[in-house]
């Protein structure tokens, strides 16, 4: 700054405060503009994360329901052809439920492994919290 003023300024002492103020104003305005642009761009990844979460929700819900359904169907068919009373249905409904849960757990684990938790937070955040 001082270099600029010396190169073009004839009255360095008088011009400097007004100049500095104008510069300050411009700089802060630019900063504000940059912030607003950054803020406008920020929601995009968030929305993508939301869509990914929606996709995962669809996967999990159907997995659970279909697990119970398939288990129940196997049990019911077994009972019908082997005459094993209600036991086939009861046991295979439970097994189907377990299978659905196992599938969900496995998928959730895999999904979590993809996004490892951040090891260290920004320092300022931590200090203010405590």
């Amino acid at each position: 700054m001082s270099d600029d003023r010396q190169s073009d300024g004839r009255k360095p002492g008088e011009m400097s405060p007004a100049d500095r103020e104008a510069l300050h104003k411009r700089a802060s305005e630019l900063g504000r503009k940059l912030d607003s642009v950054r803020a406008a761009k920020e929601p995009a990844p968030e929305r993508r994360a939301q869509n990914a979460a929606l996709g995962m929700a669809f996967r999990f819900v159907v997995d659970l329901v279909v697990g119970i359904g398939v288990g129940g169907f196997i049990g019911w068919t077994m009972d019908r052809y082997l005459g094993t009373g209600p036991w086939g249905l009861i046991v295979f409904l439970l097994l189907g439920f377990t299978a659905g849960m196992v599938n969900m757990m496995r998928a959730a684990n895999k999904e979590q492994a993809k996004h490892p938790a951040p090891k260290s937070r920004p320092v300022a955040d931590d200090d203010e919290g405590r």
Partner: protein, 238 residues
């Protein structure tokens, strides 16, 4: 609901099987024609600086290619044409179904189950072809106590047999639920008349946008799960 009804346009019979040309068949043909027209328009006069169609096609191709390579590894590239075909067929069927007066091919369980069984049989075949009888080990994870083995094997077997059912039910249920909901709300618009019909109409406009998202998302989930199952069969680390 007549929008889901199958109508025979050209009745045909072959060896006692009904192979009539139905409205479902018609919309599949329209879908395939749309895809072919789109891809031909995209690749004709392909240049280094792509035009609109070409860049759209490149985005779709690149997206699916990336998914396949990420999940299945380099060996999965062999199955890229299969997965890309599945994805684009489901995508175009879902999207065409949103047009008023059209028929949603994927809103029928028979279609989605056929696609899912194709995936299931391919995966099973690939698994046995690559690993032989050793493929059966996916039902028994390593380091398992012998006492628990029968229980776990049954659970794993159920979860393996679940795959085609959950794959097909997910797609079919999403499509049919969205269409029924739109239809119910369209009924509300009529029932409430000029005075109160605007609220459901506004909801419908928003929900149609959401349906487009669902249409793309479900096609992607189908392709994604196919990749995951293929990866299990190819690389077999459970």
């Amino acid at each position: 609901m007549e929008q889901f009804e199958i109508a025979r346009l050209v009745p045909l019979k072959l060896f006692g099987f009904d192979i009539s040309f139905t409205n479902s068949t018609l919309w599949m043909v329209i879908g395939l024609a749309t895809v072919c027209a789109f891809l031909v328009a995209a690749t004709r006069g392909a240049s280094i600086v792509p035009n609109r169609f070409q860049s759209m096609a490149e985005v779709v191709y690149g997206f699916i290619h990336q998914t396949v390579v990420d999940i299945c590894g380099p060996e999965g590239k062999k199955f890229f044409p299969f997965i890309f075909t599945l994805f684009i067929f489901i995508l175009i069927s879902n999207l065409l179904g949103l047009l008023p007066g059209s028929f949603t091919v994927t809103s029928h369980l028979s279609i989605t189950l056929a696609l899912a069984m194709l995936v299931f049989l391919t995966v099973t075949f690939v698994g046995f072809a690559r690993h032989g009888v050793g493929y059966l080990r996916i039902f028994a994870p390593d380091g398992l106590p012998v006492l628990l083995l029968p229980l776990i094997v049954v659970i794993e077997l159920i979860s393996y047999l679940m795959r085609p059912i959950s794959l097909s039910v997910r797609l079919f249920a999403n499509m049919i639920a969205g269409h029924i909901l739109l239809k119910v709300f369209a009924g509300f618009v009529i029932a409430l008349g000029v005075a109160g019909g605007w609220a459901p109409l506004a909801f419908m406009i928003g929900f149609t946008g959401f349906e487009v998202l669902i249409a793309v998302l479900q096609a992607f989930i189908f392709a994604l799960l196919t990749c995951i199952y293929l990866n299990d069969a190819l690389n077999m680390h459970h």
